[in-house]
């Protein structure tokens, strides 16, 4: 396991703070921002970055849930049945992640974040709340197994799956979808983090600095989500994602992952 200079650890905390703020505002855990920056810009090995990210996803989830629960934006009755399939997927993904080549994971990650950036931009075009899907549960359960697997393999919480499932399939408003998603990703990330921790892929210091930074950021993000226009936020998020994907693919091309 790698040793890190104090400066690097504080940089990790600063980056995590920004990732937490974005995550809190958009209802994703922040891992989608944190992992590529840790690997691409700070040179952290991907397995350690992924574990640290999962720890920070737990913190984002817990910190933001406090705000969303107070605002009554968490639909536990809808989200409850989705948790078990997501956890099953997450544990399968984590077991896969302990032996899969990090370069393959990095390329998958780059593809995922480019897809997310594109989806974010497309959502800006589609205005208004979606009507609930007529045959929602089979699709929702399938999406959650796949989402859980993908999230633990790549070190993200799964909010990328939960938010669209809540908003598009169940027809909830964006803030409730974010609140419910943020509440559920804590458990998804915890299940994967436990597997990685038991496999010796979790650096405690890296995890603590990432978690501290992201907690501060998530508190800011959940509050800012009430005032910042969602459309502007999506554009900024999409641009950051594209830059991250380029950075990550560059590292893979140079054999630095």
């Amino acid at each position: 396991m790698g040793e890190y200079a104090t400066t690097t650890l504080w940089l990790v905390a600063a980056v995590s703070c920004l990732a937490g703020a974005f995550g809190g505002m958009l209802g994703v855990g922040g891992g989608i921002i944190l992992v590529p920056v840790l690997v691409g810009a700070l040179g952290v090995p991907l397995p350690e970055a992924r574990s640290a990210s999962l720890i920070s996803v737990i913190v984002t989830s817990l910190g933001s849930s406090l705000v969303y629960l107070r605002d009554d934006c968490v639909h536990l009755d809808k989200a409850g049945p989705l948790q078990l399939p997501t956890i099953l997927g997450a544990i399968l993904g984590a077991l896969l992640g302990t032996w899969l080549d990090p370069r393959i994971v990095a390329v998958l990650f780059a593809c995922l974040i480019l897809y997310v950036a594109w989806k974010m931009m497309m959502q800006n075009r589609a205005k208004g709340r979606a009507a609930p899907h007529p045959n929602v549960w089979p699709w929702a359960l399938l999406a959650c197994v796949g989402g859980g697997m993908l999230s633990s393999l790549l070190g993200v919480g799964g909010g990328l799956i939960f938010v669209p499932v809540m908003a598009l399939l169940f027809g909830t408003d964006q803030r409730s979808a974010s609140g419910t998603s943020v509440f559920l990703i804590g458990m998804t990330a915890a299940s994967s983090a436990i597997v990685y921790s038991r496999s010796g892929l979790l650096n405690p210091l890296l995890g603590v600095f990432a978690a501290g930074g992201i907690f501060a950021g998530s508190q800011i993000g959940a509050r800012l989500s009430r005032v910042i226009p969602e459309e502007k936020l999506r554009v900024i998020f999409a641009l950051v994602m594209v830059a991250n994907a380029v950075l990550l693919l560059n590292k893979v091309a140079h054999g630095q992952v």
Binding site: I58, L62, G80, P81, L84, A190, R198, G207, V208, A211
Partner: protein, 84 residues
């Protein structure tokens, strides 16, 4: 709306407790690993309490999903622990 907020108070209490405990442990040298363990266990506690609260409200399906997922994660942790 207000009643719902009251119902979720135990969940918020567990979250605050978990974050506080992890925060305190994180700043004590040599206890960072314990802090992370507390963080990893907190969502399990939150899910357990959520399951119990939903059970009391009669939402059996949602409650069982929360409780079974906790049991499943604990099972995996126990299995991995014995495997080492």
């Amino acid at each position: 709306m207000g009643k719902s907020k009251e119902t979720w108070k135990p969940i918020r209490f567990i979250i605050v407790l978990g974050l506080l405990a992890a925060g305190i442990l994180a700043v004590i040298p040599g206890y960072q690993e314990r802090a992370l363990q507390v963080l990893m266990v907190t969502p399990l506690a939150v899910s357990t309490v959520s399951g119990i609260l939903l059970l009391k409200r009669g939402k059996i399906g949602a409650a069982m999903s929360f409780l079974l997922s906790v049991l499943f994660v604990l099972g995996i942790a126990f299995y991995e622990h014995n495997g080492q």
